[in-house]
Amino acid sequence: MSRPIIKPYMMPRTMQEIPFGATFESGHLVEGNAGWRTFKPEVDQEKCTLCLTCYLVCPDGVIFKKGDQLCIDYDFCKGCGICAHECKFDAIKMVKEEI
């Protein structure tokens, strides 16, 4: 797996479960950042050349290639729009998030 996933986590109920010495498991994610978005990026796979510039400049690292498709991990995309702005092929559009 190239990126960590959200795992369910119960907050400690006993002292034994308290993270010892303020140390905890790395890459331990309990929630996404999807709720931060107002706009979300949508990829036009036809226009996309898989140049991966968007992947390179994404501060959250949520863009990845799967086969010949460009994918976005919407659990963690914050909707900053950098990918859409930097795409030279106009292959990513920011669209209003619909709930």
Partner: protein, 398 residues
Amino acid sequence: MSAAEQHVFVSGDEAVAMGVRLARPDVISAYPITPQTVVVERLSEYVEDGSLHCQFMHVESEHSAMSAAMGVSATGARAFTATSSQGLLHMCEGLHYASGSRFPIVMMNANRATAAPWNIYGDQRDSLSMLDCGWIQVYVEDAQEACDMMIQGYRVAEDPAVLTPFMINLDGFVLTHTYELVSLPSQEEVDEFLPPLETENKMDPLSPKSLCITIGPGLDQEIKYQQHQAMMQAEEVIERVDREFGDRFGRYYGGMLEAYQCEDAEFILVATGTTVGTARTVVDALRSEGVSAGVLKLRYLRPFPVKQLGEYARKANVIGVLDRDISFGMEGTIFTNVNSALSRCGSALETMNFIGGLGGRDISKQDLTDIFQKMQDQATGKKQPHVQFFGMECETNE
């Protein structure tokens, strides 16, 4: 005394360096400051001559010395540092950080006055102002104890029930720069006594960790409770480790505290560090005159020997507390701690605080004899201030 022991005639600082060498730290990060300097000089020589396989990191400040030691400890390696006075104060942030992270760093501190005025001589205002940093604090009386506590220090600090940093305090100059006979155990014996460090809270390539993480109001208090528990558990570990050390090397120091002539003493002086030695001779002299005097050597101030103190206080008439420190506007810090301990033990004993030996002022036998006299006066109804400075050079208009 074991047959493999070697005798040397060294200063307190050198005894520390020799003890550290026997404890085999992986990395030493230290910055020089009088009167700790000889420790880092000797350790540098040991690293250079190959008698200590260790990296010596020349940091550019005490703040960095402690930060580097934490970095070392964060990889699970054994770290040592040493400082004094202003240097200890400069480290203060790191002291809290290290204890919260449960890094079993061992540090030597040469007790020295804190500026202003600028003063390089001994008192205990530096380490006593750090009592709340979450470090175990021990105060030693001579070079032998200093050397031995370097070895015991790692053993206690690294105990799974403790995992708390450990500060060994030596009175500046009077101990750090005085030469005396020290017995050094062999490396093999120390290796048997002190196993390599094993700890969970470290960077691990196979199971990566995030250290010194952010924890909000939701759980921070529990982390602090955990730290407190570890410190409380340290008491039992300190006693056990000291006993085992005594069995192996023939020197048992009394664990949390050592009582000298206290069993039946009416007048007990509570003291720390080198002053205890002088107090022993004064107690001997008073005893020969029929005064039932004793001295209680507080070895550990964190954790604090509450129970033990209470037991000795039960039979006493007056307890005097000698502080080479003053918490301005209140009293000596050790006095505050002793009073709290006694009150918890249900003792309503008279206690008196004697403040002196500041900025390197000598504490003479006469000073201590006078202190015992004042305690006797108090018992016979001649009431005095509970907190008094002794050995003043000028009239104080009190």
